[in-house]
Symmetry: C2
Subunit: 90 residues, 2 copies
DNA sequence: CACACATATAGAATTTTGTCAATACGTTTA
DNA sequence: TAAACGTATTGACAAAATTCTATATGTGTG
């Protein structure tokens, strides 16, 4: 994994609002509209953050009719964990 | 740990150049001047990145005479790992 | 003490990121 | 089919991050 790809993964965690979104998703899968209720910015901004979270692999989206349900991806987190393990044990 | 503090920790990993610096530090403690040789930016820019890495707790600096030796902090990485564990197991 | 060297800080320029309003797209429902 | 609803995209703007040059600070050396 190169430097750029690693940075993309961790982009998920370097913004305060995205950490808050992840906190909300810890309670389980949530639809975008429910996340929006808890955040203090507009719908396009949420959409932007969800894109970054999905690109990082830490979050996954599932479309169902009009709604998109987001949840935390254990596999995505594992990738991040592998990097930290690697960094620690050398 | 609040959202802001978490974001500060992970700032270490969300820039390509900082990932490269961490990679260099994986080989063991290195002085700033040696890191600078490997990077393709100026000395003040390195200084800036090292400040962010130290503030995140992922890197620690040790001053010796004119030189500053930087190394990876296992404790810092553990903090990041704790957060990822927390995120995963809910 | 004066100079050289390693690093840090200040301030400015540039680039990237976060945000919003407007609008497009896709799906459901009347 | 038209309207309503949830989400994504576009484009503009503001804020933050990255980078540079110039300079300051601190430390060792002649």
């Amino acid at each position: 994994m190169n430097e750029k790809q690693t940075a993309v993964i961790f982009k998920a965690f370097c913004d305060e609002n995205r950490i808050k979104i992840l906190k909300l998703l810890m309670g389980g899968e949530k639809c975008a509209c429910r996340l929006l209720e808890e955040m203090s910015f507009t719908q396009p901004t949420l959409s932007h953050h969800m894109k970054i979270l999905c690109e990082s692999g830490i979050v996954q989206g599932r479309k169902e009719g009009k709604w998109v349900y987001y949840s935390i991806s254990a596999d995505g987190i594992s990738k991040a964990q592998e990097y930290l393990d690697f960094l620690k044990n050398e």
